[in-house]
């Protein structure tokens, strides 16, 4: 059995090396200047460590006139992602609870329709969103982006939460109703306290999804109000010019830090929540 143990550890180590490979490339490139990358090839060890990329990325980077680095774009991303994550998680929990524990006529149809939302491709939703935001007067504002991400997020969060709440014994809810508790009281007092695992799952899922989103962030925000994904693209994609790989790699690491942080923090709960959130 000892040999199988060693084999298992070996296999896992090899796999982690493969999984880490792209991150390693990015990390190495963040320590090389763009010039050195062009001189010696896209993948390689740094000839001389240059930490200037991080400083450049954080505060010196220029997106046309706005030379504030990605610092201000990170702030924009937070302003958009945090409220959208919290709101979509809240509504997901509420709706999941209503559909699974409170039951009403047609609840499974409703659930099915809402869940279909996770399959809609982004491109086809762009023009309708422009029209909706225009009519609501929210075009080109953080509020508009938050609305988009909340509405789209509800499809996912309801799916996760409803599948989790199905596991809560309905007797709990029945007993509380007999005692005279109403919809919201049961939610606050009974359901929410049982929810942390699934709430962590939805928070992690939503946070990473919204943080890394690019199409809507670029179309529905302007100039210095754009999210950090826009800043990353500015460094990467050009038609004729060459991307600034050194600074871009540093910027990518900085931009990925919040999501990685959320993963590390919530990792354990993620597992526990997925146990119940997806098994049904």
């Amino acid at each position: 059995m000892r040999s199988t143990r060693i084999a298992v550890y070996l296999l896992v180590t090899v796999l982690t090396a493969i999984y880490l490979l792209p991150l390693l490339v990015v990390a190495l490139n963040s320590l090389r200047t763009t010039q050195e990358i062009f001189a010696n090839g896209m993948i390689g060890l740094p000839r001389a460590l240059s930490f200037g990329n991080f400083a450049d990325a954080w505060s010196g980077l220029c997106i046309a006139e706005h030379c504030t680095g990605i610092r201000s774009y990170m702030l924009n991303s937070f302003l958009m992602t945090l409220p959208a994550t919290i709101l979509s998680t809240f509504f997901g929990a509420l709706l999941g609870y209503a559909i699974s524990l409170w039951r009403f006529r047609g609840d499974l149809w409703v659930f099915g329709l809402i869940t279909l939302g996770v399959f809609l491709p982004e491109q086809m939703k762009l023009v309708p969103w422009v029209l909706v935001l225009r009519d609501l007067g929210l075009y080109n504002s953080v509020g508009g982006l938050i609305l988009i991400h909340v509405v789209q997020g509800i499809s996912f969060t309801t799916l996760f939460c409803r599948n989790y709440y199905i596991g809560i014994p309905p007797e709990l809810v029945k007993a509380a109703r007999i005692d005279g508790a109403g919809f919201f009281r049961i939610f606050w007092r009974i359901v929410l306290p049982l929810s942390p695992p699934i709430l962590i799952v939805t928070i992690i899922w939503q946070f990473t999804g919204i943080w890394n989103e690019y199409l809507y962030g670029v179309t529905f925000a302007s100039g210095e109000h754009q999210p950090v994904t826009a800043a990353l693209i500015a460094l990467a994609v050009t038609v004729s010019e060459a991307p600034q790989y050194g600074v871009q790699s540093a910027a990518v690491l900085i931009a990925a830090a919040p999501t990685l942080f959320v993963y590390l923090l919530g990792g354990k709960y993620f597992m526990r929540g997925l146990t119940a959130g997806a098994v049904k």
Binding site: A39, R134, G223, A242
Partner: protein, 427 residues
């Protein structure tokens, strides 16, 4: 509601209304203003547009630039969204036949008066004028010009095979290619992006016969598309595709700059912006030779790519003032000198003196060839850079061309037939 509460509510809303109106009042009697949407967010393009903004501000205007990072498509998405929501920018980047297409969906500004005042029409290439006066009057202004049909040869590679002069005809190009291939050098250093694939075909065709290019690509003449010059272009492109690095995949040409500079790849067919790219990557003029791409008929031809600003109609007087101010600035010699100096492009005006050290020899040579090509009626519009046709036709043609370059089993005859067919389908 109690009387007191009602009064304070009224007072509060009154103040709110006033505070909304106050800045508008202040702006109305204030400076000329423009809101600008472009995709130029980084690199020399970003620097140039920022410098233009500074000029505008110095001239007394209020400059609000919204750079949309990403490809041109993302910028157009933003433009589309702004127009749909009733808030078009005062000025936006647009080029080629798209100017005509987009001007049909939202009203534009008539710039005839500004152009006449600056005497601009006399110093712009006629091919460009057609694009910016799609319905009889000026609605947009070209900002900078690039020559697509330029060739760049690695000095180290050239030394290895004893090449000292640029190839003047495609036969000479092929001879150099064969010498390099025998010496183990990759003759063609182009990349694998779609537009790059389409571009080498168009450089071949415009080099073989600018007249055929004009008829086939710009006028979509069915007979010429199936004719011998286009077939020759396909054959040249097939030769070049076999000389390309098999590992290009969809890599940008800049990925292979190290290889080019080391002398392991020899010749690059690419527009004039490459000069800036090489400079930024840390290389000197002495590391490469550059000039016009091979021209079989010996007379200068110019494959045009030009960026432009389109001016969208706005009711507010400060926007109108800002648009006229920007129009005036963009047409001035000094502005164009500054802009092209930063990006490495060519000024639009054909009457510019580029002897200033800010410009390179390559730019001077290219600018002179623009004037000469215009006089000789050999100035054509680029297909791969969306100048010759609207995007839907361009995309269909580029798809055929990129397939041809990457799939070596397609014969030049078949490639030509496919191109003609694709054009017929989208005509």
């Amino acid at each position: 509601m109690t009387p007191i509460r009602r009064r304070s509510l009224l007072a509060a809303s009154g103040t709110a209304l006033l505070s909304q109106a106050a800045p508008r009042l202040a702006r109305a009697e204030g400076k000329p203003r423009v809101t600008v949407i472009t995709q130029w967010s980084a690199g020399s393009d970003g620097a140039a547009i920022t410098a233009l903004g500074d000029l505008f501000t110095k001239a007394g205007g209020d400059w609000q630039h919204n750079p949309v990072p990403g490809f041109t498509t993302d910028m157009m998405n933003k433009l589309r969204a702004q127009i749909l929501s009733g808030d078009p920018p005062a000025v936006s980047q647009l080029k080629g036949p798209e100017i005509a297409a987009w001007s049909k969906i939202a009203p534009t500004v008539n710039l005839d008066a500004d152009v006449a005042a600056a005497g601009y029409e006399k110093v712009v290439a006629p091919e460009l004028i057609k694009l910016h006066k799609p319905f009889g009057h000026w609605i947009s202004l070209p900002l900078q010009v690039y020559r697509i049909n330029s060739i760049w040869i690695s000095r180290k590679a050239a030394d290895k095979v004893g090449v000292t002069a640029l190839p003047k005809t495609w036969a000479e190009y092929n001879a150099i290619g064969e010498k390099m291939a025998k010496a183990g050098i990759q003759p063609v250093a182009n990349g694998g992006t779609k537009w790059d694939n389409g571009m080498i075909w168009e450089i071949a065709l415009s080099g073989i016969s600018p007249a055929a290019y004009r008829k086939a690509v710009m006028e979509l003449d069915a007979a010429t598309l199936r004719g011998p010059e286009v077939l020759a272009a396909f054959e040249q492109t097939r030769k070049m595709s076999l000389w390309m690095d098999p590992n290009t995949a969809s890599q940008h040409y800049s990925t292979f700059i190290p290889k080019f500079m080391k002398g392991d790849a020899g010749m690059l067919l690419m527009g004039g912006w490459v000069q800036g790219v090489y400079k930024k990557a840390g290389y000197q003029y002495s590391d490469y030779m550059t000039g016009p791409a091979p021209q079989d008929n010996g007379r200068p031809a110019f494959d045009l790519n030009a960026d432009a600003f389109i001016f969208w109609q706005r009711k507010e007087p400060e926007f109108t003032a800002g648009q006229h101010l920007l129009a005036k600035l963009v047409m001035e010699k000094d502005t164009q000198k500054m802009y092209s100096g930063i990006t490495g492009s060519l000024p639009v005006r054909t009457d510019m003196d580029l002897s200033d050290p800010a410009f390179s020899d390559a730019q001077r040579e290219a600018s002179a060839s623009l004037g000469a090509a215009v006089k000789d009626d050999q100035a054509v519009l680029s297909l791969a850079h969306n100048m010759a046709q609207p995007n839907q036709i361009t995309a269909a043609m580029i798809d055929v061309l990129t397939e041809f370059v990457t799939d070596h089993s397609i014969t030049p005859q078949k490639g030509q037939a496919r191109l003609a067919e694709a054009v017929d389908n989208v005509r």
